[in-house]
Symmetry: C2
Subunit: 209 residues, 2 copies
């Protein structure tokens, strides 16, 4: 699909067809495409929980303002942002380090520099790790939405949910923030979409101080 | 350009051609495309500072680990995430409210519900407003990168910079977090790219607890 078509076709859909599933192969392709997303130091501090079962979607729906789409979409992703994704010993950090050394991007003696740089950027105040996790996972979430559109599917990013309730109900460890839930599926048949919502103009986006 | 080409062509480029500028029309198209990005309650809590002048780019470079690309790219965007972007009285919040009432999406008597919902989601703890701002601005930042690629340009998202130093040097108000700087321009001629860095597999991304 043309990029220009993707960005205009992508809409936050409220009503999914509960009769149409997404096969695992398609879902995996969406995730693989989104995995190309860039991230700080290539640390990729994102994970996904994939909810497909009726019971688990109903459990999530009850914690997400009872929005019907949480149960109706065939797949709901709990998108996770890993606040620890910059720390020494974290599997992704260590894999990154090994790859950088293997490709010659870094020399073994630069390990302290690498770990120190990540620490100085993502641990300089008590909120920096959250900003790191949420920003990068925001990149990834946007890529997931475009990928879903490119595969002919619809999506809806949600943050109308009880953050701590979802954490507890799904045993999500404390290192994760939950920036969004993402419903993915097919549009309900004959659904008529409202016109796109207004967007800020370039003049409203660009600021100077 | 095909979506599939965009996601593979998008690479974080370290060396830009300082001789090739980007015209304002193209830059505005990139921003307009990215403005289609979805956001929580359509609150669009993002802004951009556009740096083009040699002096201001050098000032930023000195605060960004002296990375040559900050000066070499014709355009460097300071991407801003507005932590206040959910509050009553904020221009975007009020414009959203007016539009929702005008289109019939909300009734005037639902104002308290709307404001209360935003407050309950983005003010439930002292970090929620940062997560809100960084996540949504992450969506927007990713869209900016894809749009740049689609217009034949290169980009590089950076967070190797002194956050508070940049804030002070550019008079950026406290309500903004700075999730990234984004260099945009043309690739330096004859630049050879390294192979793409490794990415997590689907199995490494999908988790369950």
């Amino acid at each position: 699909m043309e990029y220009n078509e993707v960005i205009h076709k992508r809409r936050a859909i409220n009503f999914f067809d509960p009769e149409r599933d997404i096969d695992t192969q398609t879902l995996n392709k969406i995730i693989e495409d989104a995995a190309l997303t860039p991230s700080s130091f290539n640390l990729q501090p994102w994970n996904l929980m994939v909810l497909r079962g009726k019971e688990e979607k109903e459990k999530l729906k009850a914690l997400a303002w009872d929005q019907p789409k949480v149960a109706e979409a065939p797949v709901v992703l709990i998108v996770l942002a890993d606040r620890n994704g910059w720390q020494e010993g974290h599997p992704t950090v260590e894999k990154n380090w090994e790859e950088m050394v293997a490709t010659g991007a870094m020399k073994p003696e630069q390990r302290d520099w690498f770990l120190g740089a990540a620490k100085s950027l993502y641990n300089w105040n008590s909120e920096a790790d959250l900003a790191f996790a949420a920003k990068n996972t925001g990149f990834f979430g946007m890529s997931l939405m475009y990928a879903a559109t490119a595969y002919g599917l619809e999506s809806h990013p949600m943050d109308g949910f009880d953050h701590e309730g979802v954490r507890k109900a799904f045993n999500i460890p404390d290192n994760y923030w939950i920036p969004l839930l993402l419903a993915v599926g097919h549009r309900k048949p004959d659904l008529e979409l409202h016109p796109p919502k207004w967007r800020k103009t370039v003049d409203e986006i660009v600021v100077s101080f």
